[in-house]
């Protein structure tokens, strides 16, 4: 008799897919995209290569889905912050904290973005062009900036000027942290960085 608490097959498959992505993320971000093969990922998971291809038909497809996954995880976090009833200044602090916390607790998410997505554009040019794979996160940033200008706290400027300032700064710090050149733990920079970002974006 079937156990009623048993998960449906589709959910189990999704769970398995997520588990594959988490392993693949770690391997890609530590070993590099090109040096990590599909059989190597399957082996780490204890799966047969044939079964592995039931989940992802190609390495490029896996690469694209990983970026969508990261964008969704970050986008969901940012959405929670956007929905919080606090000032834009406080939201800047919350975003910096959220980003650095993820970099500390799940470094593979940020590392993949920095070292695979941004550094190997040839993989992503076709199906992951422009905003396609990062819209979950970028849309939330757009909403954050839009609210900031409407509330009068932030200066109206080109979106990409603000985006580059904000995310370039955070990404750069995580990159430096990964290179182990920072003199202090990443979280100790949070207050100063949040203040710098807010001061750079705020309406003068």
């Amino acid at each position: 008799m079937k156990n009623i608490s048993e998960k449906p097959a589709t959910t189990k498959k999704e769970d398995r897919k997520t588990s594959i992505m988490q392993t693949a993320l770690k391997l890609f971000s530590t070993e590099g995209f090109y040096t990590t093969t599909m059989p190597a990922i399957a082996k780490t998971l204890g799966m047969s290569v044939g079964n592995f291809y039931n989940y992802f038909s190609s390495k490029d497809q896996l690469a694209k889905e990983l970026m969508l996954y990261i964008s969704t995880v970050l986008g969901d976090k940012l959405r929670e912050i956007n929905m919080t009833d606090v000032s834009v200044k406080e939201k800047v602090t919350m975003i910096v904290h959220m980003y650095f916390s993820i970099a500390r607790e799940r470094p593979e998410l940020i590392e993949y973005f920095l070292r695979v997505f941004l550094s190997n554009r040839e993989i992503f040019t076709k199906e992951c062009t422009g905003m396609v794979c990062v819209s979950g996160f970028v849309t939330e940033l757009m909403l954050f900036f839009d609210e900031g200008v409407q509330s009068g706290e932030l200066k109206d400027q080109d979106f990409f000027s603000a985006l580059g300032l904000f995310m370039g700064y955070l990404g750069g710090m995580v990159f430096l942290n990964g290179e182990e050149v920072l003199t202090k733990p990443l979280n100790e920079y949070e207050t100063a960085i949040a203040e710098n970002i807010y001061n750079a974006l705020r309406k003068q």
């Binding site: 905003m131 849309t139 200008v149 080109d158």
Partner: protein, 294 residues
């Protein structure tokens, strides 16, 4: 022979734009045969304005053009008295144009006293606020076919369903965006950098309010031929209570993000869709439709 319904066309604070628009109605002869105009400033009428100002006559339909300022006088009689007398006896009161509907352009000269017949922008106010007999034909000007439709429905004794702003649903349930020939450019987020071109969407840079404006301009074409957006001019949202806004040739953005998005769609949903659509380059949509130099 069935007696003709009596129409009185009164004017408040107006530029006469709705009268001029109505004179382009292709079936004007039908209107003149079906209705008796007690008074209209340009059309053949039974009475003079002076005779109308005595308030001894009655009409079946009061059409009011222009913003409502109760203190304004016509031949020595205030609009408050004129509209009060004729409106109370009429079965229908039609506000012709956005000034008569919501206050419009002229409301801005004296926001404290000037309103529409039943609304001050979107707030109920004025002599016919919440009156079931009020029909708003907003627009700057209203489309002549919209007045024609309304008069024909009344003549045929058919009910006219209206929205919460008292506009006929048959005419105002649509958006100006519906039927716009630039919709493919809107879908793929291809902007128009100039007025008057056949190509590109006017929503992103040129201030087009088509996706936020209830009007059937691209369904019932102007002069049976065209519309503003079809010829490359942005829709100014002239049928909505907030018309006129400032900087109407510009799309208000916050860090390049449009402040207003299509009606009924969350900004989160719109930005997600727009960001993805904009990621793709469609060479066909980036070229001239008709390139004489090619």
């Amino acid at each position: 022979m069935k007696p003709r319904l009596k129409v009185l066309w009164l004017q408040g604070v107006t530029c006469n734009g709705n009268t001029h628009s109505f004179l382009n109605y292709p079936h004007l002869l039908y209107v003149l045969e079906t209705f008796e105009f007690l008074y209209h400033s340009l059309l053949p009428s039974t009475y003079t304005l002076e005779e109308i100002s005595t308030c001894v006559h009655e009409c079946d339909i009061l059409i009011f053009e222009g913003a409502y300022d109760p203190r304004m006088e016509r031949v020595g009689t205030s609009l408050e008295t004129l509209v009060g007398h004729y409106g109370s006896h009429a079965k229908y009161v039609i506000a012709a144009g956005s000034c008569a509907s919501f206050g419009g352009m002229f409301k801005h000269s004296d926001p404290e006293h000037i309103t529409g017949l039943g609304f001050d922008e979107k707030e109920p106010k004025g002599p016919f606020a919440s009156s079931p007999k009020l029909i708003n034909l907003s627009g700057c000007p209203m489309h002549p076919e919209w007045m024609g439709y309304t008069l024909r429905m009344i003549a045929d004794n058919k009910p006219i369903a209206v929205d919460e702003l008292h506009r006929p649903k048959e005419l105002y349930s649509y958006l100006a965006h519906h039927g716009c020939t630039r919709n493919e450019y809107f879908e793929w987020k291809v902007d128009s950098d100039h007025f008057g071109t056949k190509e590109g969407c006017l929503f992103y840079k040129q201030g087009c309010r088509g996706p936020m404006t209830h009007a059937s301009c691209n369904k019932i074409l102007w002069n049976d031929v065209s519309s503003k957006t079809r010829v490359g001019t942005p829709c100014f949202g002239c049928t909505e209570p907030d018309f006129p806004r400032i900087n109407m040739f510009e799309t208000k953005t916050n860090m390049s993000i449009p402040q207003d998005v299509p009606v009924g769609i969350s900004k989160r949903s719109y930005l997600t869709m727009a960001g993805i659509a904009k990621s793709f380059h469609i060479p066909r949509l980036e070229k001239r439709l008709i390139d004489d130099d090619a």
